[in-house]
Symmetry: C2
Subunit: 238 residues, 2 copies
DNA sequence: TATTACAACTTGTGCGCACAAGTGTCAATA
DNA sequence: TATTGACACTTGTGCGCACAAGTTGTAATA
């Protein structure tokens, strides 16, 4: 439950943009008008607009106003931290998740070679994502215990993020991602129905909590023919 | 020349983190201390810290402080909008750029199929990026005229971004990127020294100005063996 | 007519304040 | 001893104000 005034405004405007109350090419009401509309200070409205700008929903133009952008942000997978389930719903794809493996290990496998050496137990979860019945992605998740004390099969079959955030109250903060192309072994190649070339797109990510502790490591192997990564970025000069 | 107080503070702290004046695992001085240190209001300091947070340099923790993160943000290519030249310097790589082609076309080639139909002239620029003497990336840039009135060969050989921003005063604001894996034609395959499989990583991006006008389209073909895309993302729940 | 000047809007930057809420320490208390 | 509570720190949220700076239309002016 996030309910700060600023987030309420952000979500409300985002929704209105989504439902074309404010359409691409149009300007939002001015900051002063929004300020009055929501009964909030201009500062508060400005923070909300700043978030919408980071999300790529609007572009603020000095002296003119906030222009609604036309960006189809949803593809597969989307930039940022988003779960397969959320994407599935957003895209309305015919997608399915099959849990291939779920067990608790005493420690992280050595081949992951993580320097932040957590000598902890981990849940190892292997899932296959199918799109239109065709294997598209093989996910290998390593969830550290603690903070993940338990991981029911039902959660693994649906969204682990929803389970962790809603059920366990774990707060996910940020993640790093690395995308490369790799030769994969026969097991992965067969699972993904790769051709003789046996190359897959590997998305390797580490997810952290608010206290900066490492919490999840994921190796995601994508069928190259299905893979698409979409990103929105603002220019920053530091 | 960006010289708002907030950006000065952002840059100063970013530099101090880079030079380990503030090291990973340590906390920055508190907002009140920084406020006094820079002779700025806490609000101003907070905006600067917010930017550093977006960049992934720090993590703010309520009740405790701003923790310096340990993230090697530079890889090839980096997330966000950054030019090859900037990357080159940041990484200290042995990299070289060869201009293969530069001409002015009457309109954008039809195969790019851009809906935002600019019936404008474009500069077409083809460049090969070599790392350690090996071909790594083939860039095909389409720069719209206007706003790009001219494009000297010297600029193409160095950083076009530096030329456009510093010389022409063009302000780049944001970009969309799409990463896919594609079969490529013989010309690209030979140029990149691909093996018989002829698949390359295509990074297709569109860059926009502050007034949201489309300004540059780039198709970047990467040798799969060299390709690596690194990203830092914060969790946003909208 | 063409230019200039102004007014009325917009967003950008910065100041200061108040209080909520999370964290850690330390002393008083049961 | 173990718990509680007060206190001093931290960041988070929100308010209000002032002025700078960019945009646009209009009216006065040359």
């Amino acid at each position: 439950m996030e309910n700060s005034k600023q987030e309420i405004i952000t979500r409300d405007i985002a929704l209105k943009i989504k439902h074309k109350v404010y359409s691409p090419g149009e300007y939002l009401p001015s900051e002063n008008q929004l300020s009055e509309l929501y009964g909030a200070a201009r500062n508060t409205v400005r923070k909300a607009l700043g978030d919408l700008m980071d999300l790529g929903l609007i572009q603020k133009i000095k002296g003119k106003g906030s222009l609604v952008l036309d960006i189809q942000r949803y593809s597969f997978p989307v930039s940022g931290i988003t779960s397969f389930k959320e994407l599935n719903q957003a895209l309305g794809m015919d997608a399915e998740t099959k849990v291939l493996h779920l067990e608790e290990l005493d420690k992280l496998p050595a081949n992951l070679s993580i320097e932040e050496i957590p000598a902890k137990k981990v849940f190892y979860l292997e899932r296959l994502r199918l799109i239109d019945g065709e294997p598209a992605v093989l996910d290998r998740d390593y969830l550290l215990n603690p903070p993940v004390k338990s991981l029911p099969l039902a959660a693994a079959e649906n969204s682990i993020y929803a389970y962790l955030e809603d059920e366990l109250g774990i707060k996910i903060s940020y993640a790093t991602k690395e995308i490369t192309v790799r030769k994969v072994d026969d097991y992965i190649a067969q699972t993904l129905h790769l051709d003789h070339d046996k190359r897959a797109v590997l998305v390797f990510s580490k997810t952290y909590l608010e206290d900066t502790s490492l919490f999840q490591i994921t190796a995601s192997y994508h069928n190259p023919d299905e893979f698409s990564f979409n990103d929105f970025a603002r220019r920053r000069k530091i």
